[in-house]
């Protein structure tokens, strides 16, 4: 029997040729769909690619029309790249590693409109939930520039004085009913009559022989003890009553001091203090800075999943991995020349922004920076831009220590022509920067989620405008006039904290200019408001406070009542005349 089947060899060659042909025919489509699938999964929104073209010699890939949807705005692209091309190392590719020496990205644009929504089911919900949780750190609002009417203020504000008056009045009312109850339980005129009757009976007994004398004396002794006990109860009650009245009087004295505190509180709340003006720049620029900070954090959040997913830690040993049914696990051995799973050593980027073309380089885009011990760095610059003298941005994404992720960016812009920038949109005090030539620098770092940024800007040929100068009050008018006279100012901003809780420190020489311009007006207006508030508060609290004194006077009735009852009992005991006119008493009837 012949062992070799030669026609089989021909069949093998034909089958292999067909497989290779089909691969070459289909590979572009497979790459295109793979990029779209993997990209969509990583970003959480649709990634579209118009065309992918693989060349075998030299091994390279060209991508046309890459569009990455913004997960938060599915009708916009987060990034669009017109043309991408790169060459790959074939040897490393056989190792399953995509190593690119040089990549070119042309026509990079951000925020472009999409024809169709790029939303992906499920992912959008997750993003929306995440966004809800995020909030900006400080919020900025302009204080009202109008000095309000004191009576209007009192109509909507609760006075602490009146609150305390109500509490004391309630206590007095409560006290009165309690005292009425307590006095009812003390010896009254009925009890006095009883004592007199017992006294008479005892006196009769004293006249009825030796036994009668002894019995009468015993009764008189018991009577005296009972009366003394009642006298003590009344004395104690009187003492308590006096103490309570004294306490209430002291609280009323406190109430009399309360209007001053109310006045201070309302004045601070409603008047524009010079302290507020010293931080005018914060009010003016704070809103815009918070807005820009939120935008920066939002961009970081958008890029974070892409960066983090790419740099996911892999289990060190085979035993740490979990075998998937039918797939097993890939055991990693020591590599003689270790390389990350993917690496772009140099990416040359040309981006189209509204002002023109910005070009730059990104170095070491890698799935594992620790292998080559190099962080991802970038630098961009542009000098023939419309409305911008020069621009330079550089920074790094550092994951050399995986437990301490660091992102840094430095930006310098010179001769940036600002036009019609709305600084304050509020109806109270609208301000716009009509025009300015600015030079500024920004240094920012985000280490383990904590932002630390410093902004230093100088604004020249400034024109600030806003509001109706003629229609507004003194204060606003003066402020607008001062603002319109400003031709240049500096601004320094320091930001630190997390996305959820960051602090902004802001300083500008604009504060001194404004303080000088409107300081005296503020003082005058504040004094006027203080006087008006003082009169209105006095008018409102005087009545209730004087009524309190009358209410306390009502407690004195109980004191008089107690005093009268005490006099009657003491009269009975001493034998003096009582209010009831009795002239005979216990005194002198007993030998002990």
């Amino acid at each position: 029997m012949k062992m070799i089947r030669w026609q089989g060899l021909v069949s093998f060659i034909i089958i292999s040729g067909l497989i290779a042909g089909a691969w070459l025919f289909l590979i572009d489509g497979i790459i295109e769909r793979s990029i779209e699938f993997v990209g969509t999964k990583a970003v959480g929104a649709k990634v579209d690619l118009k065309k992918a073209d693989l060349s075998l010699s030299p091994l390279g890939l060209t991508l046309e029309g890459l569009e990455v949807t913004d997960p938060d705005e599915p009708m916009k692209n987060m990034v669009e790249v017109a043309h991408t091309s790169f060459l790959m190392d074939f040897g490393h590719l056989l190792h399953g590693k995509a190593i690119v020496d040089e990549m070119t990205l042309d026509g990079v644009r951000t925020g472009t409109e999409r024809k169709k929504s790029g939303a992906v089911k499920g992912a959008a919900v997750e993003k929306a939930t995440a966004k809800e949780g995020a909030s900006s750190g400080d919020t900025f609002s302009f204080p009202s520039m109008d000095i309000p009417d004191p009576k209007e203020i009192l109509a909507r504000e609760e006075l602490e004085t009146l609150k305390l008056v109500d509490i004391i009045r309630a206590d007095i009312k409560n006290g009165k009913s309690q005292w009425k109850e307590r006095i009812d339980g003390l010896p009254d005129s009925k009890k006095l009559k009883e004592y007199k009757a017992r006294f008479k009976e005892a006196k009769k007994g004293l006249k009825g022989g030796v036994l009668g004398i002894l019995g009468g004396a015993g009764e008189l002794k018991a009577l005296k003890a009972d009366i003394k006990k009642d006298i003590n109860s009344i004395k104690t009650a009187r003492k308590d009553l006096k103490s309570e009245i004294a306490n209430l009087k002291s609280r009323v004295a406190q109430v009399k001091a309360m209007p001053k505190k109310d006045l201070r509180r309302l004045k601070e709340k409603y008047s524009l203090s010079s302290g507020g003006l010293s931080n005018f720049s914060r009010m003016l620029f704070g809103g815009k800075i918070a807005e820009w900070t939120d935008t920066a954090f939002a961009w970081h959040e958008k890029l974070k999943p892409v960066i983090e997913k790419a740099m996911e830690e892999k289990p060190a040993t085979a035993k740490e991995q979990k075998s998937e049914r039918g797939k097993g696990i890939n055991v990693r051995f020591r590599e003689f020349k270790p390389m990350p799973d993917y690496l772009v050593k140099l990416a040359k980027v040309s981006a189209d922004i509204t002002a023109g073309k910005v070009s730059g380089e990104i170095k070491e885009i890698s799935s594992d920076q620790t292998i080559r011990n190099l962080p991802t760095t970038f630098n961009f610059s542009g000098d023939k831009l419309e409305g911008i003298g020069s621009l330079s941005i550089d920074g790094e994404v550092n994951r050399l220590d995986v437990s301490t992720p660091k992102n840094k960016v430095n930006m310098k812009i010179a001769g940036y022509a600002l036009k019609d920038v709305v600084l304050s949109e509020g109806a109270d005090f609208p301000v716009s920067l009509s025009k300015a030539d600015s030079d500024f620098s920004l240094k920012a770092s985000l280490i383990k989620g904590v932002l630390d940024a410093d902004f230093d800007g100088r604004f020249n040929s400034v024109s600030l405008s806003g509001g109706d100068k003629d229609g507004d009050g003194h204060l606003k008018k003066s402020l607008y006039e001062a603002l319109s006279d400003i031709r240049g100012f500096s601004l320094k901003v320091a930001l630190d904290g997390t996305r959820e809780d960051y602090k902004v420190r802001l300083s500008s020489n604009i504060d001194n200019v404004l303080k000088k311009a409107v300081g005296s007006i503020v003082k005058k207006e504040s004094a006027k408001l203080q006087q008006g508030l003082k009169s209105a508060i006095t008018e409102k609290v005087n009545g209730p406070i004087s009524k309190l004194a009358g209410d306390i006077g009502g407690l004195n009735v109980f004191d008089k009542q107690l005093s009268s009852q005490l006099g009657d009992l003491e009269g009975l005991l001493s034998g003096g005349s009582s209010k009831s006119g009795s002239k005979s008493g216990l005194k002198g009837l007993l030998p002990f």
């Binding site: 029997m1 089947r5 055991v331």
Partner: protein, 173 residues
């Protein structure tokens, strides 16, 4: 299903050399146990086509062993992990791992390594076992069945008609 069984019987009952059928089953075991799209299976395909092995037996065997491989997955994984983690082999595997062409074979995958190891170990014993079984089947069972009354009755059944149909289509091999 009937046709598959008929095909198997056809192969077993044919005049084909037992060695050709056994070798086909053994190659089918390698291709069936290991992940089909592995590089070594290109070599198996090459050998199947080049050597005079029974193609029908290979296809039937491939279907059988592929289905069976799913049950043996945990065993393949354990065997592969043990092999790849064995200290004496470490240097060799490290050298292979650093060779791009060897990396293409996915030898460092536990399922690939385990299934290839087991099918390679079973290749020669199974070749002789299948050979023996085919010879014994033809000598004793086939003859006895042919002469039995049951077979006479069976020849009139639909199953036999299907078997016959295939035999005619194949040119009465």
């Amino acid at each position: 299903m009937l046709q598959m069984l008929a095909k198997l019987l056809k192969v077993l009952n044919s005049e084909a050399e037992p060695g050709q059928v056994s070798l086909a089953f053994c190659f089918a075991m390698v291709a069936g146990f290991t992940p089909l799209l592995s590089l070594h299976n290109l070599l198996v395909l090459f050998l199947i086509l080049l050597l005079r092995v029974n193609l029908s037996a290979f296809i039937l065997g491939l279907l059988f062993f592929t289905g069976f491989a799913y049950m043996l997955d945990p065993l393949f994984h354990k065997a592969g992990l043990a092999l790849l983690s064995a200290d004496p082999m470490k240097e060799t595997f490290t050298a292979l791992y650093n060779n791009p062409y060897w990396r293409l074979t996915h030898f460092n995958n536990t399922i690939v390594a385990g299934s290839l190891l087991i099918s390679a170990l079973l290749f020669v014993p199974f070749y002789f076992l299948f050979n023996l079984l085919i010879v014994k089947y033809r000598d004793y069972i086939l003859e006895a069945i042919r002469k039995s009354k049951l077979m006479q009755f069976f020849k009139a059944s639909k199953f036999y008609q299907a078997y016959e149909k295939i035999a005619i289509l194949r040119g009465g091999e």
